[in-house]
Subunit: 398 residues, 2 copies
C-alpha cells in the first residue's frame, strides 16, 4: 500500500505546532488564529492532493473529488479544534489520515466511482464555547440558535451566523472516522486497531445532599447529619455498582463541593456529579437506577435530604453494521489484528449518525493518555490505521 | 439568691442587638464598630455595678473591685466578638453572667476578700483575622508578632501594636467562665448544667491524595487511579474509626476539593481536612494513628499517592481540680443537677490555663445549635448557671 508513514507523521507534527502552548500541548479554540491557520494548512494539503475545497457556513472545511456515478458522498475526516493543552492526535489524526488516504487512492486508483470527501470539522470539543459538536450539528441541521458571543466570533472569521442552516447536508451516504481510542483498552490488550461497535450513551447527574452544619468539636458522632460522610458513602456506592456491572459500564464522580467547607464544621451540604456511560441504553438506565436507589437508602439511613438532578442525557449510538463490516473486512485483508470495542468518549460520528451511515476505527493511545501533551500512538499503528481507512474507502467508493 | 433573671435576659438582648445582621444573627468582628459599641455597653454596666474599668493594649476590657487582702485576682468573663451570623449567647453569656454575678455579690456581700475582676476578652473566634484567642493570648504574653492588617485595625481603634506585651498578666489566680455547651449533650441528657473536666485536644490534618486524571468515558473502572473514590473510602474510614472509639472521640472531614473538578474527568487529586479531637492526648494520638494507617492502606490498595500534613496540633487542657471542685460544690449547694463533661470546642480558658487555675461551667444549647441565629438556652438555665457562677465566685473570693 502506498501510504507514506513519514509524511503522515510530518503532517501531524505540522498541525501540532499550530497553537503550541509554552508548557506543552496545543490549543486551537474554534475560530481563533491557531484554528484559522490550521484550517488553511489542511486546505492547502487538500488542494495539493487534487481535491476541490470549500468552507461551509460554520467554517467546516470540505475537500471533494467527484465520483463517476452520481449519488451521495463517502466522507472521512475529524475535528480540527483542540482542548486546552491538547495532544497531537485527537481530531488531527482523522483529518491527516483521511486526506492522506484519499490522496493515495487518487494516485493509485484514479477517479472514484462514488464522490469522496474529506472534512475538517470546525469544532467538536467545546474548545471555546459550551457548544460541543458545533460542526457536526451544523451538518445535520441541528443548530437552532446562535448566542451573541458565538455570533461575534463567527463574524470575526468572516462567517455569517444567519446562514448556518446552509451548512446542513442530506447528500452524505457514509461517514468514517479514524480516531485515537483515548483510553487504555487497546494499549492494555496489545491490539493495534479496533472497529467501534457503538458510542456510549452518557447521563450526567448532579447529586445534592443536605445535612446539618454542626460544630466539629461539640457534636458527638451519633448526633450528626454529616452531608460529606453521606456523600462519601454514595461515591463509594457509585464506584462499586459500576464495577459490579462490569465493562462497558463506567461511572465517575468528577466534581464535588462541600458547604460551608470549613475545617471545624460538619458539612451541611455536598453537591457532586456523576457521569454514567454504557453502550446499551437499558443497561445505562439500570446502572442509573441502582445508583439512585442506593443513594436514597444511604440518605435515608443518615437522615440526609437528597435531590438528584439530570443535567444531560444522551442515548448510545450504534455504528452502522455495513460500515463496521467494511472496516472489519479491510483490516482482515490487510492482516491487521482488529478487535471490536465500544467508544466511551463522544465523537462527531454520533451526531452525523442522524443523517448517514457512520463507522469508526480506533488506534491505541499509549498508556490511555489523551487531552494532554502525553497523547501518543506508535507511528506503525498510525500508519496501519490509515491503511485500513484507505482500504475501507476503496471498498466503498471504488 | 439575688440574681435577676429578667435583667440577665435583657442584657443579653441588648448585646445581641449590637451588630444585628439583616438575615438574623449578630456579627461583631474584632475592632469593628459593632464590637466597639458592645465593649462600651459592657463598660457602662461594669461602672454602674461599681467596678473600676480599664482597657488593655489589645482592647480587652477589665472591670475590677479590689479585695481586702492583697494577692492575685479571681477573674470571670468571656469573649465579646462573634462569628458571622453568630448567636445570642456565645461569649456574651459569660460576660453578662460574670458582671451580673459580681454585681449581685457586691450588693449582697460587699467588698470581697480577694480582688474580683470581670473581663470582656476582645477576640476568641478569629472573627476578623485568623488570630483565634487573640485576647487571651495577649493576657498570657503569647503574642510575638502583629501582622500589617491587624496593626492597621488596632490603630484605627486607638490601640498601639507596639504595646501588646503590656497586656500580659501574671497576677491572676483563677479564671472561671460560664459558656453555652455548643453541642447537644446536655440538651439530650436533660441536665441543666455541666462542670467541664477538660477541653479537648485538637489535631488538624490535611490529606492529599494523588491519582491520575483519566477520561471518564474511555477508562474502564479497573484501569483507574481515582483520587476521589479513594478519598471517599478514607472519609468513610475517618467516620467509622471515630464512631468505633466512642465518645469523646470525634473526627470530622470539613473541607474537600478535587482536581481537575470536571464532570467527565476521573479526579487526579483530592485534598481534604480532618479535625480530630479527644480529651485524652494518648487517645487522640491513637485515633490519629488508626486513621493515618487506614488511609495509607486504602491509598496503597488503589495505587494512589498519599501525603498527610499536620496543620495544627493542640493538646487537651484539663480544668484545674480546685476550680472543678468549687464549681461542683456550688452546684450541689444550690440543688442543681450538674454533670461533668469534656468540652469539644476550644475556649479562652485553655489559653489562660498557662498562667492561672481555670474552670468552666456549661449550660445547655437547645438542639445543640451554636454559631447561628438559632443558638438558644432556656432562661431558667441561664439564671441557674449564673447563680452557680456567683456562688463559686463567692466561695473563692469571700
Amino acid at each position: 500500500m502506498p501510504i507514506d508513514g513519514p509524511l503522515l507523521e510530518q503532517r501531524l507534527d505540522e498541525l501540532y505546532a499550530i497553537g503550541a502552548e509554552p508548557d506543552g500541548g496545543a490549543y486551537r479554540p474554534l475560530y481563533g488564529p491557531a484554528w484559522a491557520t490550521a484550517v488553511e494548512r489542511v486546505e492547502r494539503w487538500l488542494k495539493d492532493a487534487g481535491l476541490k475545497t470549500r468552507r461551509d457556513a460554520v467554517g467546516n472545511l470540505w475537500g471533494r473529488v467527484e465520483g463517476t456515478d452520481k449519488g451521495k458522498s463517502i466522507v472521512t475526516g475529524s475535528h480540527i479544534d483542540t482542548v486546552r493543552r491538547g495532544g497531537r492526535l485527537d481530531g488531527a489524526l482523522g483529518i491527516v489520515a483521511g486526506l492522506t488516504a484519499v490522496e493515495a487512492l487518487l494516485e493509485e486508483k484514479g477517479k472514484p466511482r462514488r464522490t469522496l470527501e474529506v472534512v475538517a470539522i470546525c469544532e467538536e470539543e467545546g474548545s471555546r464555547f459550551a457548544t460541543n459538536f458545533w460542526g457536526s450539528r451544523a451538518i445535520v441541521g441541528a443548530i437552532d440558535a446562535v448566542d451573541g458571543d458565538m455570533a461575534v466570533a463567527m463574524r470575526e472569521r468572516g462567517l455569517d451566523p444567519s446562514r448556518i442552516s446552509t451548512a446542513a447536508r442530506d447528500d452524505i451516504d457514509t461517514f468514517v472516522e479514524l480516531h485515537i481510542e483515548q483510553g487504555a483498552v487497546l494499549d492494555a490488550s496489545g491490539k493495534p486497531l479496533a472497529v467501534v461497535s457503538a458510542i456510549v450513551g452518557t447521563a450526567h447527574l448532579e447529586v445534592d445532599v443536605t445535612g446539618r452544619p454542626d460544630h466539629a468539636g461539640t457534636t458527638p458522632m451519633g448526633l450528626r447529619q454529616d452531608a460529606l460522610a453521606g456523600a462519601a458513602a454514595m461515591i463509594q456506592a457509585v464506584e462499586s455498582i459500576a464495577r459490579s456491572l462490569g465493562a462497558p459500564a463506567v461511572a465517575t464522580v468528577g466534581k464535588i463541593r462541600a458547604e460551608p467547607d470549613q475545617i471545624n464544621v460538619v458539612p451541611a451540604r455536598v453537591v457532586f456529579t456523576i457521569d454514567l456511560r454504557h453502550s446499551d441504553l437499558n443497561a445505562r438506565r439500570a446502572l442509573e437506577e441502582r445508583i439512585r436507589s442506593l443513594c436514597h437508602t444511604i440518605a435515608s439511613e443518615r437522615s440526609l435530604a437528597l435531590e438528584v438532578r439530570v443535567l444531560q442525557e444522551k442515548p448510545p449510538v450504534p455504528m452502522h453494521p455495513d460500515v463496521r463490516s467494511v472496516l472489519a473486512s479491510a483490516a482482515k485483508e490487510l492482516g491487521a489484528q482488529a478487535s471490536e470495542m465500544v467508544s466511551g468518549a463522544g465523537h462527531d460520528a454520533q451526531v452525523l449518525a442522524a443523517r448517514c451511515k457512520v463507522g469508526m476505527l480506533f488506534v491505541p493511545s499509549i498508556g490511555g493518555r489523551s487531552h494532554c501533551p502525553e497523547e501518543a500512538t506508535k507511528a506503525e499503528d498510525v500508519a496501519l490505521g490509515t491503511k485500513v481507512l484507505m482500504r475501507s474507502l476503496q471498498k466503498i467508493a471504488y
